[in-house]
């Protein structure tokens, strides 16, 4: 993904920042897919043994759990990226 041809110090830092960002995005999206498509739909039969309020865990993930995880993911990403901006000195102002 990084363009290797223009190698200044700044470009190398920029590439490091971008690679770190991509890593955080990929990890977050794996969790995003796991709770919705995974627990909520495809893996529901696997976790059906765990009962929650008159139904099973997959139903809870499909109707509530996934939404709560999505919220946590977005706030985690905003916090982590603002920290990353400062580590690489690319924050605004």
């Amino acid at each position: 993904m990084a363009d290797q041809s223009t190698h200044t110090k700044a470009a190398a830092d920029g590439a490091g920042y971008w690679t770190a960002n991509i890593r955080i995005i990929v990890i977050s999206l794996i969790i995003w897919a796991l709770v919705s498509f995974g627990f909520g739909i495809l893996l529901r039969p696997m976790i059906s043994g765990i009962s929650v309020g008159g139904t099973d865990l997959g139903f809870w993930f499909a109707q509530q759990g996934s939404i709560l995880v999505f919220l946590a993911l977005i706030f985690f990403y905003a916090w982590r990226m603002n920290k990353l901006d400062r580590e690489y000195g690319v924050e605004e102002d």
């Binding site: 993904m1 363009d3 920029g14 920042y17 971008w18 960002n21 995005i25 977050s28 999206l29 995003w32 919705s36 498509f37 909520g40 739909i41 495809l42 529901r44 929650v52 309020g53 008159g54 139904t55 099973d56 139903f59 809870w60 499909a62 109707q63 509530q64 996934s66 939404i67 709560l68 999505f70 919220l71 993911l73 977005i74 706030f75 990403y77 905003a78 990226m81 603002n82 901006d85 000195g89 690319v90 924050e91 605004e92």
Partner: protein, 599 residues
Amino acid sequence: MDQFTINLLFVGASFALYIGIAIWARAGSTSEFYAAGRGVHPVTNGMATAADWMSAASFIGMAGLIAFTGYDNSTFLMGWTGGYVLLALLLAPYLRKFGKFTVSEFIGDRFYSPTARIVAVICLIVASTTYVIGQMTGVGVAFGRFLEISNTSGLLIGACVVFAYAVFGGMKGVTYTQVAQYVVLIMAYTIPAVFISLQLTGNPIPALGLFGETAAAGGEGSVYLLQKLDQVVTELGFASYTEAHKDNLNMVLFTLSLMIGTAGLPHVIMRFFTVPKVSDARWSAGWALVFIALLYLTAPAVGAMARLNITNLMWPNGTSNEAVSVEAIQNDSEYNWMLTWQKTGLLDWEDKNGDGKIQYYNDQSDAMAAKAAENGWEGNELTKFNRDILVLANPEIASLPSWVIGLVAAGGLAAALSTAAGLLLAISSAVSHDLMKGQLTPNMSEKSELLSARIAMAVAIGVATILGLNPPGFAAQTVALAFGLAAASIFPALMMGIFSKRVNNVGAVSGMLAGLGFTLVYIFLHKGWLFIAGTNSFPDTVDGSLLGIQSTAIGAVGAIINFAVAYIVSMSTADTPQEIKDLVESVRVPAGAGGAVDH
């Protein structure tokens, strides 16, 4: 005071509030008209985004679809919230850094091609107009009910109100008005849900009540609400509430379409242009989802509890005893809502076997055929129950006080109006800013730009009203089609524009055209050309469909086609120029994000 007067008071008071705010914060310049001078705090912006986003589909439509289907329609819940993760991680901060007003400006600049910009404008207009059709369906239901007139008259009156309202101000007026609308709509949604949750489960928080036990049911011992619901609906021959009945492929693709579409809809993305900083764009998406989640965590409880209440009203002595009598519906106050909703033409019943009772059951079920024959039933007698009326009728079904019913009427209208206004703004800015000023007549004055924006609004609402008279589905289903179209056209272009330096002008244009073309044709083959009933070539069911995929779920496939075509075409044509690689590089880091740049 009768219910009609109370509804009128609540709706009138809420409208006075919105119009007051719109006058107070009236847009003066084009920059304010589109992006409110970028002076909006992330929390305020999140709340306005939530109002903008939660439309008639979320407020009026969604719980009704969940109520009558159960688990299978959880896809709406996951799809319409999961998209915010994509938006926050993949688009919002970068588009804010880019620092222009509209989505198509980004596409035009990044793919260094006026053609790309025009194709993006076309994609936006197609998706947004389909979305407005869904809103108009909801507006028709809400106005029909609260003015106690037919659905069609409600739709026509609603169209005039939406138009007057959207023309009034631009984004700035709309931002603060939408904060007020959010407060009205969230109260209108949660207050009745709290009452109903207390009645049924004793728990004041509906989201917890859904998984709670039913309140003391005459010494029977307590049962979980969901178990009781499963039991009564299966006794009437309906599919169980909590089990899966749809195939995994369609569920996954449908959810994915809604998610990608959320991140590809112009009126939502535009919101992230209005925050002061890149870091604020990241927080804004989170705050928006907080305010959205308040409604989305309540919606499944509203659906399940309403379904249980309706079943109990139709079978007041339990499903194994006598059904409700026609006489009770005509005279008892707890059935008043059935008479009022009958006037809109969206609810109806018929005593087919003439026994003076209304039997509500699934007459398509083989298991029920024997029971029906034994009891002399001649088919389901609750002949019509439009899914879109459920949320609005819900407080009446649960016999809540009349001020709650008035509040819900005001909330439903707030939801439909705020989204319709946001969409019309997106359509009008696409036409006047991107198409007219950007391409056709670059020298036009600010004044004529605002005028052409308003003409575009009028045309869009006219088309949406005509098509809204015979909508391609219930409000939330029509809106789902709009998401499929946005998913297949806009989102892939935006994402590739940020995450790849290699995708070039020809690639992006071919990708968008392939994605939009495929999805639109597939939808029209199943829903009818231009949504005109009877012109479809395939039945709109999973089994009858062309690829075994429902038309509402095809957007995800369109998005994959878009990505693939753009990549293959880009690889076999010239590389992007250096200045574009630099542009992508600069969009990726927050440092140096300035104020608005207009050209």
